[in-house]
Amino acid sequence: MSGTSQHSQLCSILLREAYGDLAEKVAMCLFRFGDLTFSQLASHSKLKQSKLQTVLKGLINFGLVQFEMGVDAKSGTQSNTPIYNLCKGRVLFLHRYIRGVPVFIRKFGTEGEIVLDTLMKCGHECASDIIFQATVRILKTESDQNVASVLEQIKGKLTELIQFGLIERAPSRQTETQEKLSDFSTPGKNYSLKGVDLPMMVQRISNDILTLEDAEDQAILWQVSRKRVTQLLRDEMFAEALTGRIDCHAGNLVRVLLQLMADTGPAMADASNILHKPFIQSAVKNSYSGSPLEAHLSEYLQILSQDSSSLVKNLGDASGGEYQITLKSAILELTWSALEKITQEQFGTKGARIFRVVRRHQFILVDDIQNHAMLPPKEAKQILYTLVGQNFVHFREMKLGTGSEAGKTSTSYYFFINLNQLVRMCLEKCYLAQFSASVRQNDIVSKYSHTIQKESRLTSLYVTLKDQGAPQEQLEDVLVASYQIKLCLT
């Protein structure tokens, strides 16, 4: 099933930027035509079979394409023909991952982010390879660091990421049957990496051998967990919202509560299991011992349960207090807030005011809108009709008859907001904006590619001249020229 045109355009450009034209061609065939067999894919993409095989291997390695054995239409049994399908969510994840980079840096440091980035670029990799490649990458920029200590640090970060759940097991290359990821047990919080030979890596790097072969743990592959990254970004979104609304301690409490929700049940459920106050207290004590949050936990819980964000619900006072995380209602509130902000930016404060009036009083007449919004009648109508024109607000016609046969019928227009439609419209706008930004970026880079090359040549020229001991005037000329080009590029 194909998505909307904006969605497909965005996926196309993301795939082309990340994996090249061929991968984009194959993936977009799957996007447009749905599930395809190998031969169907070859005919649609017009690629040679050998090339198509290579491209498919790469896409499967990065988790963008999945395959399963098809079902024979006549007999209903499983056939030997694999059917390939594109994971559209995984394509958009390429962009969403970038959004999470500041969060990863904040939580796991630069080293942790480098480990994740290395694994994202590889798709699936064993732990030894990940550690080795991440270390080589760090040493390229910071060559004066001790290799053994960097390796140890990276190994620690990788273990931390696995324990946190951001990195999960991937199916192994060497097994013949398709292993299901659900067959693997989730690495617990006490998981430790095995089969990682750090001294061998130190030796290889010291001898300038920048590739790793025959690692002991080659059979155990890891990949970035898309679900966990999405969950982490969602949790951070809630924490930031409540930090801005209340204070940083409320944000920290939200993080603790969402972690407890994930520990005690499904992380993406509409509502969590009941969380008792002593349980929350012990979790807060583990993470934020001695902070004002621990001292005023009851007050913060009360504030959160009374807040209009509807994230926390107080179910009663049994066992010291029973609380529940109501994710569905909280996400709904955040969605409305986002839509109100978008309306405010696009139509001004008055437009946002009318939007909120219609939201609060679904199916409302024009005169009532004007009374509630405290605006001059003409201006209120003008803004309302602009909102209707842009599909932010909808209306329904109601004809009211007088009852008599030849009587007049009066038509009233009731205004309301169709949330699903509005959200879909804003989502399409997001896809279009991302696509336009990528197109413009590529356009600028290609247009000024010679300028960029010139700047890099000047920089290397400056370094060379400086090493050779060139006169100061010559160095200054090169510097000025390089600076002018930098001004052009900024």
């Binding site: 007050e299 978008i342 919004a373 336009s436 413009r440 600028i444 300028t451 080009i485």
Partner: protein, 388 residues
């Protein structure tokens, strides 16, 4: 019974019944009198304006004593009727068309009567905010209702935007100041939250202290402003129980739940032409002016800067290495021709080249074979035999 006596009896009965008497009571009271005489007397009293006949909800007639006509100068019954209708409308006022419907007077007569009443300063016309072109009439001394004038927020039947904005700002200032002063307290978060709430009376006191407004502001007005601010997402409402046991509404300033979404920080988020934007056509991301302004890039300036710098570096008289903006010369046209695109996207060029590549050695072999010395000799011999 004598007409005068009947008249006096009717007036006495009606005086003792301030709410009037119904038809049944009338018949009972005057059953000893001649009915036609009674009706004549009643009509006479009606004509004199001493009594009035009303209809109740069940459409039964009620006979009521009319209040004495204290208005001098209203000699005609039509003037009186119009005046009475206007008086009954109270502070809401009555529209001309409604008076006409009720009195069945022709328009020109009604207009004359209304002008006369206005000149005698008995009635006045007021423009209603509900319908701008409509004038309503009410008694001269009556203050029009807020629904007619619009209330505190209307000035000369028009919404006073400046006044409303100023009052909104001052109300928000009161709430924000309270929140800021309370945030500095070194107490628990719940106490800070509770103390940051403010009641309507507190806000009213704050505004009165500022002495900015000459108009008297009431609780209802502040209530409307607070409702407006809650629709702006700047405040939230709660209720608290006072020590007296009374539940009062209170308000506090709040920060928005989320900051500005990234989509609206980009030009595409608020672009009015996003539906027409595509890779081809007049509006594309590559030539979008909104993008240019947002990125603060002007491509002409950039190219000029580059040329100036390049000239300085190389000492050349003109630009070097830049492709022509438009290929004016044949060599520029050839240089800018998209050969690669044509070869990649049109099969004929690719297969033509393949054909040439395959055929060239074949043709060379044939040519070589045909022009070899042995073949030439063979040909000469065959020609000789055939006699050429």
């Amino acid at each position: 019974m004598d007409t005068a006596k009947v008249q006096a009896k009717i007036l006495d009965v009606l005086k003792s019944a301030p709410n009037g008497i119904d038809e049944k009571a009338r018949k009972q009271l005057f059953e000893d009198c001649d009915s036609s005489n009674i009706l004549t007397v009643f009509n006479g009293l009606l004509a004199q304006g001493k009594i009035e006949i009303l209809a109740d909800e069940h459409k039964n007639l009620i006979y009521k004593l009319k209040e004495a006509n204290l208005i001098p100068g209203l000699e005609k019954i039509e003037d009186q009727i119009v005046y009475d209708h206007i008086a009954r409308s109270g502070n809401q006022g009555i529209w001309v068309r409604d008076i006409r419907t009720k009195t069945n007077l022709p328009m020109h007569t009604l207009s004359k009567i209304l002008k006369q009443l206005e000149s005698k300063k008995l009635v006045k016309s007021v423009k209603s905010v509900l319908a701008v072109k409509r004038k309503v009439y009410m008694l001269y001394d009556v203050m029009p209702d807020s629904r007619v004038t619009g209330g505190t927020f209307y000035q000369e039947q028009e919404f006073d935007v400046e006044f409303t904005d100023l009052l909104t700002q001052e109300t928000l200032k009161c709430l924000t100041k309270k929140a800021e002063s309370v945030a500095k307290l070194e107490t628990g978060p719940l106490e800070i939250l509770t103390r940051s709430f403010v009641t309507i009376s507190d806000i009213l006191k704050f505004i009165c202290r500022t002495k900015i407004f000459n108009v008297q502001i009431k609780d209802n007005d502040i209530q409307k402003i607070l409702q407006c601010l809650s629709f702006d997402g700047k405040i939230e409402c709660s209720s608290r129980v006072e020590p007296s046991g009374e539940t009062v509404e209170c308000f506090r300033a709040v920060a928005p739940l989320i900051s500005t979404p990234s989509i609206v920080r980009m030009p595409c988020g608020a672009c009015p032409l996003s539906e027409k934007c595509s890779l081809t056509g007049r509006i594309t991301p590559s030539n979008c002016k909104y993008f240019t302004d947002w990125l603060n890039l002007d491509s002409n300036e950039l190219i000029q800067l580059f040329f100036n710098q390049n000239r300085k570096m190389s000492g050349a008289a003109g630009p070097v290495g830049r492709p022509m903006k438009y290929p004016y010369t044949l060599s520029a046209k050839i240089a800018q021709f998209p050969f690669k695109w044509h070869v990649n996207n049109q099969w004929i060029w690719k297969y033509y080249l393949i054909g040439v590549a395959v055929c060239t050695p074949l043709f060379y072999k044939i040519q070589k074979g045909a022009n070899s010395a042995a073949n030439k000799a063979k040909w000469a011999e065959s020609q000789k035999k055939s006699g050429h």
